[in-house]
Amino acid sequence: MGRPVAIIGVGQTYHGKRMDVSYPELVREAVMAVFKDTGLSPEDIDGVVSGTMPSMMEGIALTHFYLADAMQSAGKPIMKTETCGSTGVSIAHTAYYWVASGLADLILAVGHEKMNEGDSQATMTTVAEPFYQRYFISGAPGVFSMQSQMWTVRYGISEEKVRDAAAFISVTHHEDAFDNPYAHIKMKVSMDDVKNARIITYPVRLLDVCPNSDGACAVIFASEEMVKKLNRKPAWVKGVGYRGDEYFFGDSDKAVWESAAQAAKEAYKQAGIKNPRKELDVAEVYNPFTFQEMLFYECFGFCGPGESPDLVLKGTFTRNGELACDPSGGTLCTNPIGATGLIRVAEAALQVTGRAGAHQIPGAKLALAHAMGGVDQFNGIMILGSKL
């Protein structure tokens, strides 16, 4: 670990189908919000980190150039970090490393995506090369469906039970989203609605899948000195972990998912966490697909392999449960991909500073934020705490 780093403010856009604003205007909305939250101005910032999923989501390459004015990055060092779905957590890591290194005191991190302007699955499938994998992976849902299925079969979980648990996750997260002013999808769904929804990529049905969202998130990372000087309530970075798998989907085991498990293990080691289910108060798990959320619970040591569906159905991971997971409604209800991982970080920061509003977990002191990306290739974690 380098020197101490904290998040001192966050800003989000109202996520959704935002055809009322251009892409830079959308990004400016989040950047204005973080400046309002912190009382800082662009001239206070030492450097800017930005990121998206594949740039071509909006048909414009290297969007940190296009968005330079919206992020007020002129005259400052700017970096772009891009790791597919895990981009948002990677941006947070980049900002953290920058401040932890001692080379900057205030870094603005901005994640953004305007998914309704292009064809998201067509764009995402370009991360697979066009002579082997691209024919078979059918965008994100295809990959995650195969993975979920491998996991279910590996641990002998019955199809009915995993289906019920996934539906329960969909119902509770859709319910949670009503208390998050920034969430995209706000609709009441029942267990039967989820179980009878149209098949997208079996076993994944429409209500097991996240939406295409337009949105941006901005977060300011600060050194200890700045935290004191500005007298802000900090969310301290307690640990970070990031791991990747080999490129080809069939080359590594996705049911025992090492990149997810090892990223969490590294972050826990830095944060001194031994029993995550007991010690963590909130986890913002990247959950674009209900089934995959359960696999993450196991990878992150919230329970043993194959145990998550039973615990889900018992309510262990609901807002009032033992470990609240995605009380914001999570990625399932809001997914502007390049922003999504940073939204997880922002939500975790709001929770440990007691500022999450209607979806606050009372007394939350330690939170996990996570994002995943690539053809099941990357996983990143950030642990935030109320105390240094």
Binding site: M19, D20, S138, G139, P141, G142, E246
Partner: protein, 153 residues
Amino acid sequence: MAKEYKTIKTELRLPYELAYGATWTRFFEGMKEKKIYGNKCPKCGRVLVPARSFCPRCFVDMGEWIEVSQEGKLVAWCYTNYRYFGMPTEPPFIGALINLDGTDVNFLHLIGGFDLSNFDEVRKIVKNGMKVRAEWQDDRNAHIMDIRYFKPL
């Protein structure tokens, strides 16, 4: 947000010519002859398919070429029933990970050779762990789709 604002429609189409290198070239030449080639890592001993020029784990040049079995076990699958712009495979289709006999990684391809139009019928046929075998196109172009699909045995 009730007001409708104007939008602009735009499109990008860019031509590319990607170099295969010697290993992929040989692998795809094999496809033309109805052969699936893998190769063996001299360090970890794993047989990888498709064949590679280097082992992704050991970072050493791959060794002996092996014509791998055209039969294997279904490890994971997904029935795809949606469409995106430029999708290279016509839905509905079943993408699958197949562990070809004698290999140490899973090969990604399609499961087929039966009616895919009704999912409930598909669900009765496709089972994890079932044996499948490659079915080839008559007209082959040294391409991954020279294998039409893997058919349940």
